[in-house]
């Protein structure tokens, strides 16, 4: 332990902190694994849209008085299915379909959030849904969240090989007998569940940060899909735990001494990790490039070169 300078008094005794730390393991792990495939498949926009549309589910759930998690999951899975129905295999058609559904859903979300704040007079609901609150996840939601997360991890593991092949080339996968559309649909639904979990942690607006950021960082650092998944999970967990710690410490920070939101720290840390990975790969490429230019080794990768 680094002592009381880093960990303000009562950090590990605090019930809300312990809950947050548990969520901070399972959610980034699922996000990292699903996010790796999201980035590989070029579906970051679909992920963002799913997360944004979760707002509708969260706001609706709040109106009827159940945990936002169920709203997120319900909307996520239904929307994922609809998107696959509308969006043909072509990436462009998929983006347009996503955009159209997203617009309609966000309109409804605005209405529901308005009702949430005007009727039940809790501005907190809007903040919680949009920006998340790791410290305010109710006790009953936690086991559900952990179980959903474990199911998500199992499904990623189950789909691993055919998902990898379809992500690489749908022609190649079809020729191997993979049902490309079914795999695509299953993956979209998985993405729906994954962003629901991250919406509980960092909110619907920032949900994709946890999905895309660590995965994009890991893809720069690794050479195998499964190590990218684990690295992404690790980066996500590190960012979330550090975020929780900083947020806990920030209760003594200006301006109001009421603490800074944990989502801010998590998302900012993810961004900083990404920049660091980018910088390191850039430096490495530059070093390799200058060495190769010196020796002429660069031309070893020429396809027509004798081997």
């Amino acid at each position: 332990m680094l002592g009381s300078i880093v960990f303000e008094a009562g950090f590990f005794q605090n019930h809300a902190v312990r809950t947050a730390l548990i969520i901070g393991v399972i959610v980034p792990l699922v996000s990292g694994c699903v996010g790796t495939f999201t980035v590989i498949r070029g579906q970051a926009f679909a992920g963002e849209a799913l997360s944004d549309m979760g707002t509708l589910g969260g706001a609706g759930a709040d109106l009827v008085g159940v945990s936002p998690l169920w709203g997120f999951v319900g909307v996520g899975v239904v929307v994922a299915g609809t998107m696959e129905l509308f969006g043909v295999q072509r990436r462009r058609g998929r983006d347009v379909a996503t955009g159209i559904v997203l617009g309609a859903m966000l309109g409804l979300s605005a209405l529901f959030l308005y009702f949430d704040t005007t009727h039940s007079s809790t501005t907190g609901a809007t903040i919680t849904i949009l920006f998340g609150s790791l410290f305010q996840v109710s006790g009953v939601t936690v086991p559900a969240l952990v179980i959903l997360g474990l199911i998500g991890l199992l499904v990623v593991g189950f789909l691993y090989r055919p998902l990898l092949l379809t992500s690489l080339s749908s022609d190649l996968a079809t020729a191997r007998g993979v049902r490309v559309r079914s795999i695509g649909l299953a993956f979209l639904m998985l993405m729906g569940v994954s962003v629901s979990l991250s919406s509980v942690a960092v909110g619907t607006i920032l949900g994709t940060a946890l999905l895309i950021g660590p995965a994009a960082t890991a893809l720069k650092l690794t050479r195998r899909p499964w190590s990218a998944m684990l690295t992404a999970g690790g980066i996500g967990i590190a960012a979330t735990w550090l975020g929780i710690l900083l947020s806990y410490d920030s209760f003594y920070w200006p301006p109001a001494k009421k603490g800074w939101p944990v989502s801010f720290f998590v998302v900012t840390l993810i961004f900083l990790f990404y920049l660091a990975a980018d910088l390191s790969t850039w430096l490495r490429a530059r070093r390799v490039g200058s060495e190769a230019r010196g020796t002429g080794a660069r031309w070893d990768r020429d396809p027509v070169g004798a081997r």
Binding site: V39, I40, G42, G157, F158, L159, Y160, R161, P162, L164, L165, S167, L168, S169, D171, L172, A173, T174, A175, R176, G177, V178, L219, K220, T222, R223, R224, P225, W226, S227, A228, R301, D302, P303, V304, R307
Partner: protein, 279 residues
């Protein structure tokens, strides 16, 4: 076509009277040919001649409106393991963390669920296949960083590792420079022999294949003519296929197909460039 059943013993593919309409247009009209074990067949035709459509029918991805396809002895199913397929244009993002050897490994069991457990036998099989296509040097490179020729070899290994009896390649020579083109053709000729696999390869130019090709299937206007190069690539046959007079010119050991009747002057004289080179 209707030979004795005993003649079909080593037949790995038989296409009979296949017709396909897409969007109200007839793409294939009564196409028929057969491929025997270990043969190297060139499917030659210009862009839009129906080569990819024919492959989709053979792979079972498209149901022909008329005619039938038989693969090996067994019945034709939508994912036949006795066919290895290398699609046209596989674009791999350089950021995808997948090594050449991983892609070859996916050829063994990429359609199965769950993770592949690492095993010695699996690694040996992948190494052996990479060796067979001269890809050992870049086995650990990211797939996205490979050159066109290198990627083509890895894709061939991916298709071959499940030990198919027929290997289908859709325009594998497109976008390759001349040297890699020759290397890939030589490799395929060798593979057809060593691995005892029949190769069916589509191309718009038959010249790079002349040295290794056993038979040619020439596709034009939805019609096909098959046989040895000398039988098929003749002025009369191709003119009938195109429904338009074309001339087949032999320049050294190369063949050029041009539109219009056979020119009278000596073809070895330098003249205007052919309008319709080798289509």
């Amino acid at each position: 076509m209707s030979a004795d059943a005993s003649d079909h013993d080593d037949e790995v593919l038989s296409v009979e009277g296949v017709s396909v309409w897409l969007g109200g247009r007839q793409i294939l009209d009564d196409v028929g040919f057969s491929v025997r074990s270990g043969q190297f067949i060139g499917l030659i035709g210009s862009n839009g001649a129906g080569k990819t459509t024919l492959f989709r029918v053979i792979l079972g991805l498209l149901e022909p409106h008329r005619g039938s396809v038989r693969v090996g002895e067994g019945r034709h199913t939508s994912h036949n393991r006795s066919i290895g397929y290398v699609p046209q244009k596989v674009l791999v993002d350089p950021d995808i963390p997948l090594r050449a050897r991983d892609l070859v490994g996916l050829g063994i069991d990429g359609d199965r669920f769950g993770f592949a457990l690492p095993s010695r036998a699996r690694r040996l099989a992948v190494d052996e296949m990479l060796e067979a296509v001269d890809a050992s040097d870049f086995a650990d490179a990211r797939v996205g960083s490979l050159s066109g020729g290198e990627l083509q070899r890895v894709l061939i290994a991916h298709a071959l590792i499940s030990r198919p009896r027929l290997l289908i390649l859709d325009e594998p020579l497109a976008n390759l420079d001349i040297r890699s083109e020759q290397e890939v053709v030589e490799l395929l000729g060798r593979v057809a022999h060593d691995q005892e696999v029949a190769v069916l390869l589509s191309a718009h130019d038959m010249n790079p294949l002349l040295a290794v090709m056993d038979r040619v299937v020439y596709l034009a206007n939805g019609h096909a003519a098959s046989g040895s190069t000398d039988e098929v690539v003749r002025t009369e046959v191709l003119s009938e296929l195109y429904g338009h007079p074309v001339a087949v010119l032999h320049v050294g050991d190369r063949i050029i197909v041009v539109a219009g009747p056979t020119p009278v002057p000596d073809i070895s004289m330098p003249g205007p460039a052919p309008l319709h080179a080798a289509d």
